[in-house]
């Protein structure tokens, strides 16, 4: 009998005994979500709603099941991941985690998380309605480790008024997303337009192109725009030329005076306030920015003020966007019974109606086909347009244990080139040396 089988058998025995004896069961299921702001409460609240449904299902079967959901939202990623890994090593991991899909690989290897497919029928509703590509992103090595919690993508934004000021007509602006998608409007045009804005005094110097102020998955989009590939056949890929063109783009932006040399490290609050008030001309962000701009930042006419598209293509690449779905994953616990309940909870929380609450409130995209048949989702212009315009072109980062090392090296190289500490050539050479040194054969360098 394999270990998994014996574990499952033991768990079933426990369940059977529970059913035979007193059928009252009190459990506390804890759920932690990382990188979650005030609009993201349904990441954990959905589990609570699911608990209510599961309790009712149990009651109908004649069992008493009382579930207390212990919820925790963490606004950062670094602290969250640190807390999770240390808690798991100490044997106190919460039952359910809401985290980035890229954590699946290292956490699966370490045994921190267990596959959801060991507990769930993947052919059952609502799992069978979830987009296949999202299910794929939540798996590792062919095993379904997690269920997608949300989807998003990362658009490129244009402040319409400033675009008009440098000569775009409304018709041009309406056609812009299509031209980006067709590869006619490229990152070269981005620099050109940003420069016009700065030269004509439409925006202040450094505000022509106003990128994300901190490290994030967004920067892989520019690598992709310049023809870079992150992973091929399960092996990481470092494309020297694409990486250099990508670094060069940001260096050019700084030299042209459209992006600030010291931009990285700008406080997020300041950044959001600036892009939502028209201080910047072109920038990039995420679909969830819609919620922030229109709620906290008080932008009233989003569609009248801002145009959005895919990230334009650069030399040697294609227009793209990146989706970084968060996933529900289950941690390994001594009590298999609790894991089984947690699995049921994430399944029910993936119900299109429940997930739509999160999608619309936080301006993320849906995870399942049927969400477009739910009025709350379908009537939301942002959800509808962003889904249509962006999601079909979305890539995802690979689930690979070594990807974090690659990512750190990519970011430190970009930062060094951007701030003028190194030339793009030097930065790429250093990243290459670093990757050869740290990953060796685990990465293909070309």
């Amino acid at each position: 009998m394999t270990p998994r089988l014996s574990k499952t058998a033991a768990a079933a025995l426990v369940l059977a005994m529970g059913a035979g004896g007193a059928s009252a069961q009190n459990v506390t299921i804890s759920v932690w979500a990382g990188g979650s702001g005030p609009n993201d409460n349904y990441r954990v609240d959905a589990i609570e709603m699911a608990a209510d449904i599961l309790e009712r299902e149990a009651a109908i079967r004649g069992e008493t099941l009382e579930i207390t959901v212990d919820k925790k939202l963490d606004s950062t990623w670094d602290d969250f991941k640190q807390a999770v890994t240390l808690a798991a090593e100490a044997g106190n991991a919460p039952h359910i985690l809401v985290t980035g899909h890229e954590d699946i690989a290292p956490w699966a290897q370490s045994g921190l998380i267990v596959p959801v497919e060991d507990y769930l029928n993947l052919d059952a509703w609502p799992i069978n309605d979830i987009y296949d590509n999202l299910m794929e992103i939540a798996s590792y090595g062919g095993i379904q480790y997690g269920l997608p919690q949300d989807a998003e993508s990362r658009p490129f934004f244009f402040w319409k008024e400033h675009m008009r000021a440098i000569g775009y007509t409304d018709a041009d602006l309406d056609a812009l997303p299509g031209r980006v998608e067709a590869g006619e409007y490229t990152l070269d045009n981005v620099l050109e337009d940003a420069r016009k804005m700065v030269d004509q005094g439409v925006v202040e110097a450094g505000y022509g192109f106003y990128p994300r102020p901190s490290n994030g998955p967004d920067y892989w989009q520019f690598y992709t725009s310049f023809g870079g590939v992150m992973e091929e056949d399960g092996k990481l890929v470092f494309d020297r030329a694409a990486m250099q063109r990508f670094y060069q783009f940001f260096v050019d932006a700084v030299e042209a005076g459209v992006t600030r040399k010291n931009h990285i490290g700008t406080p997020w609050d300041q950044w959001y306030a600036e892009v939502a008030s028209g201080k910047a001309g072109l920038w990039h962000g995420g679909t969830w920015h819609y919620a922030r701009y229109t709620n906290q930042e008080g932008l009233e006419d989003f569609f009248g003020s801002i145009a959005f598209s895919l990230i334009p293509a650069g030399e040697g690449g294609k227009p793209n966007t990146l989706t970084h779905p968060l996933v529900y994953v289950l941690t390994a616990q001594d009590n298999e019974d609790e894991v089984a309940i947690a699995a049921e909870l994430v399944k029910i929380a993936s119900e299109p109606r429940i997930n739509t609450l999160h999608a619309i409130k936080s301006a993320h995209l849906g995870i399942a086909h049927q969400q477009s048949n739910i009025d709350l989702y379908a009537n939301d212009r942002w959800a509808r347009e962003a889904t249509e315009r962006l999601l079909p072109f979305a890539n995802a980062m690979p689930n690979n244990t070594d990807f974090g090392t690659y990512w750190n090296a990519m970011w430190s190289g970009l930062e060094a080139a951007w701030t003028g500490q190194k030339t793009p050539e030097q930065a790429v050479a250093d990243v290459e040396a670093e990757l050869k040194n740290s990953l060796g054969e685990a990465i293909v360098i070309r």
Binding site: T2, G100, A105, R260, N262, G265, Q270, F403, N408
Partner: protein, 463 residues
């Protein structure tokens, strides 16, 4: 021979063995050496707990490839696709990988017997035998669909148990021990040779292993040199300019101003140390942000607002050193000021009578008397700056572009901070170990340089 020992020896002769040992203990405690050890014991315990044990553990972890992915407490043996790739690429055992790793579910009598043993309902077993005996599936999902299509549809948990009973490969199986892995592998592939077993165990192990790879990586990484010189620059500059230099200026200045004013002055310089570090650094950030005080002030003179702290590497260093230095200066100030106070006033009076200027007093009276406090402050602050992380992390976080990345921060970024969740404990520990070695070497060097033995006055009463 100490006086206390003499007293102990001259006491009345012991009566019983127990009294002897009690008396022996008392006399040992009465001796200054014995009492010294007892009084030092709590300190020794603390040193062992909070210095030696962490250093030893760091030293051990430094020689492993420990990370989030490998876990800390040990690993398991998982026949994952990446393990199979290693088996194929590095060991040239592609065929074996294929046979072990290809998911295979075969409905056979052996599996059906297992189901009966497990107490699965006879109807389900019969249904499987009737409809699917002899069939083979290469996907768990497909097979489970077939199970669910039986007339007596089993519950999900039961479906999982049934499919596990028919699994005839090791695809994605996780084993707690190498023995279990080999046993399971032999069930699938009976003629494994020793080399194959060895390769299988190595390729599938998910835990950490001993290695000196971290040190090779550290020695050959281009970042090492940069971070090393950053750290050297940071420690030396902050130490010389602020922690000892400026502290000395403050101490001497307050020595020559009236007592009351000096007290107030010292309290003001103590503020950076007693305010919470997050708030202290936040105040600096407000000063430096492009919407902050400096920018607002300078915009009146036509200077474009900018983030002064992260504007260039030089700016960042100025801020990092000021932020750390203002905290560090207060400690030196207090120690130097009290040491100056301890200098007999008569020396100053005599010097004044001889017509010595202030500078001559400082040069010939104060500084020579401050040799020991300077050693202490230099030594203590070097170590504390080497390991200092909070102010730099909160202010520049090593930026811009890694310009202010210092060793301790680098350790933090490697071992405890990774966007993609794979924290590199082993590599971080190797970095930390280097820091420990540097710290100990520097301490020894300082003791030598300042002639520690000459600074210690032997207690006269013992001689």
């Amino acid at each position: 021979m100490t006086a206390s020992r003499d007293i102990a020896r001259d006491g009345p002769a012991p009566v019983t063995a127990r009294a002897v040992s009690a008396r022996g203990l008392a006399s040992w405690l009465n001796s200054s050496k014995g009492l010294g050890l007892v009084l030092l014991a709590p300190a020794m315990v603390l040193v062992v707990l909070f210095f030696l044990v962490p250093v030893v553990v760091t030293g051990l972890i430094a020689f492993t490839n420990m990370s989030t992915a490998t876990g800390i407490t040990g690993g398991a043996y998982q026949v994952s696709p990446s393990a199979l790739r290693v088996l194929t690429d590095q060991h040239g055992m592609g065929a074996l990988a294929e046979r072990l790793g290809q998911p295979t579910y075969t409905v056979d009598e052996q599996g059906l017997a297992t189901l009966e043993e497990m107490g699965i309902e006879p109807g389900i077993v019969a249904g499987l035998r009737e409809r699917h005996l002899g069939e083979t599936y290469s996907s768990r999902r497909e097979f489970e669909r077939a199970i669910r299509a039986l007339p007596e549809r089993p519950a999900t948990r039961t479906v999982k148990r049934i499919s596990a009973a028919f699994s005839r490969s090791l695809a994605n199986e996780r084993f707690a021990s190498a023995g279990a892995l080999i046993a399971a592998a032999e069930a699938v592939e009976p003629d494994l040779d020793a080399a194959e077993k060895q390769a299988l165990v190595e390729a599938t192990y998910t835990g950490w292993t001993w290695t000196s790879e971290n040190f090779r990586r550290l020695a050959t990484s281009r970042d090492t040199e940069r971070v090393f010189f950053n750290t050297l620059f940071f420690v030396a500059t902050t130490l010389v300019l602020f922690n000892t230099g400026y502290a000395m200026v403050l101490a001497i200045a307050t020595h020559y101003i009236p007592e009351r004013a000096a007290g107030i002055f010292r309290i003001i310089w103590f503020l950076p140390r007693i305010s919470p570090v997050v708030i202290y650094v936040l105040l600096w950030k407000w000063l430096a942000w492009d919407t902050g005080f400096l920018s607002a002030l300078l915009s009146n003179f036509g200077v474009r607002p900018r983030n002064w702290m992260l504007d260039s590497a030089t700016n960042a260093w100025v801020f990092v050193i000021l932020i750390n230095g203002f905290v560090g200066a207060s400690m030196g100030m207090v120690i130097f000021a009290s040491a100056i106070k301890a200098i007999p006033q008569s020396l100053f009076h005599a010097a004044a009578v001889d017509g010595a200027y202030r500078w001559q007093q400082i040069r010939h009276i104060i500084l020579p008397h401050l040799k020991w406090p300077i050693l202490f402050v230099t030594c203590y602050q070097t170590l504390s700056l080497l390991t200092s992380i909070d102010q730099t992390l909160l202010s520049t976080d090593g930026g811009p572009g890694g310009a202010t990345e210092i060793w301790s921060l680098w350790i933090y970024h490697t071992a405890l901070n990774n966007y993609a969740g794979n924290l590199q404990y082993g590599y971080g520990a190797a970095m930390a170990l280097v820091l420990v070695v540097i710290g100990i070497t520097l301490s020894l060097l300082y003791l030598r340089l300042f002639n520690y033995n000459a600074l210690i006055i032997k207690p006269r009463i013992e001689h």
